[in-house]
């Protein structure tokens, strides 16, 4: 269960960074506009973390099963970020 949790957490944070790298979500979350530089950095961090998560799952589950599990985790990371943003947005 531990590798799944770590992969899940990494992917969740990665998707969170990608979401904050978008104009509207950054504004909804922090109440101010992001500078282009901030958005770029957030997106970069998001992609790096995603790459880290997929590398980790391949290391743990192997090259054939790892990506499948990572893609499955990705689904729920996207949902998780959307739910957090929706609750914040109220």
């Amino acid at each position: 269960m531990m590798p799944l949790l770590v992969t899940g957490l990494l992917t969740l944070v990665a998707m969170g960074c990608l979401a904050l790298g978008m104009e509207r979500h950054f504004h909804a979350w922090l109440g101010r506009a992001a500078t282009p530089r901030q958005r770029k950095d957030l997106r970069l961090a998001g992609w790096f973390l995603l790459a880290g998560a997929i590398a980790l799952s391949i290391r743990h589950w192997g090259a054939s099963i790892g990506p499948v599990i990572w893609l499955g985790v990705l689904t729920f990371a996207i949902l998780g970020v959307a739910l957090i943003l929706a609750v914040r947005g109220r």
Binding site: M1, V68, I69, T75, F76, I78, A82, L85, A86, R90
Partner: protein, 487 residues
Amino acid sequence: MSPLGKALMGLHAWGGMIFSWLLIPVFITGSIAVFEPEVSQWMQPELTAHPTRPSDAVALAETHLNEHASDQPFWRIRLPSEREPHIGVAWGKNPRQLHEATLDAVSGEPLHERATEGGHFFTHFHADLLLGAPGRWIVGAAGIVMLAALVSGILIHHRFFAEFFTLRPHAGKRRAWLDLHNLSGVASLPFLLMITYTGCVILAETFMPAATHALYDGNPRANRAEVVKSFERKPSGVPAGMLPLTTHLAAAEAILGEGKVSSLLVRHPGDRNGLVQAYRHVDDRLAAVSDHVTFDAANGTLFGQQTEWNPMTYAYRAQVGLHTAHFGGLPLRWLYFLSGLLGALMMAAGTALLLRKRRQRAGEDRPQRLLDALGAASIPGSVLASLAYLAANRLIPAETGGRETLEIAAFFSVWAITLIHALLRRRRAWHEQFVAASAACVLLALADTYSGGLVDAARRGVDLTLLATGALLFASSRRFFRTGDAT
């Protein structure tokens, strides 16, 4: 909107909704099927769960078969596993129609579990609606429409990239449904494309049997026989002692890996030409191919083995493996279960959107009432039908003859009742069926917990899942269907 956009929209909305009446039940039963052994364990409270060593289990099974089936030409032993912690034995004259029994993994005593299709019913319904070849054509056609709806959906909802991560449950109803539809669809898109595509690949042979039929002189099984080697020989008629099956098991584990043997097949036990074949688990590999080895039953020499396969076999069976999810253990099963339900949610939200749009244009006319009712029967209705199947399992006494058929009858009768109910109660039916399903989930979980469900890990898991599902169904009934204006 361009003419092409309009055409795509029509295909996506109407094609999607009409086929969702079938696809939603197929996705729900498919998700449950991921946990087929656990559901079977829940449905057979007589089954015990004790950890044991493979060799002990095989010795117990051999004793049982020697006592009860020494004159039978075929024996099969399913070794206990984490998911099925009891011994399966089977014997008979035709290896495809064996008489089966389940033994306790520690005492070797027969368990006399109740007759039921168990979790397999969900797998069976998911694959062919219990209709055989015609059912496979129907499910396959729905799968192809699903692929078309997914691709047209990506084109229509192209704005979702700008609205990625967006969920506005408190915005207007249309907005809220559209967000839910887009988000659940986009988030589970890799899974949905994969599961639908591999589902169609599995059925490809059923759609286009002509080539195989022509190439193998009308005998499609010959194709399989070319790939899966079989090591068989005729019985000699000369009796001969057999080495203990535990010896064969140890030899098989030396080739297939320790703890990797899933089952043994004995051909002609007690004959000089007897053979013992061991099959390997597929639960640690993506490609669902089961390596196997065969030994001479009397002296233990290796008679044949197949542990390497044609690359195309791996390629094809990897797609089957991706669909059936025997690899990857518990984490992957949960991901598949939830992703499948997310797919059903995506279709349900799409149906809600279209019903709402049509009602605003056409009002409560007769077709609208029929479409509403079909939607209700496919969404909360198929959930209620599945719960009725589980409830029937507990309500029909364990000794009743033909009870497995009665359980399935409960599924289909309750499903038909949900349609009639939806036609009579119109839009209020949505709310009522969601509440009924939620109550049924909680009642089933409590009933099982208070009748010994706590001792068994699989039953505990099913009970907790039922409770969570009940809470979720109740929340959605309140959130979306409170005033009966579901859509």
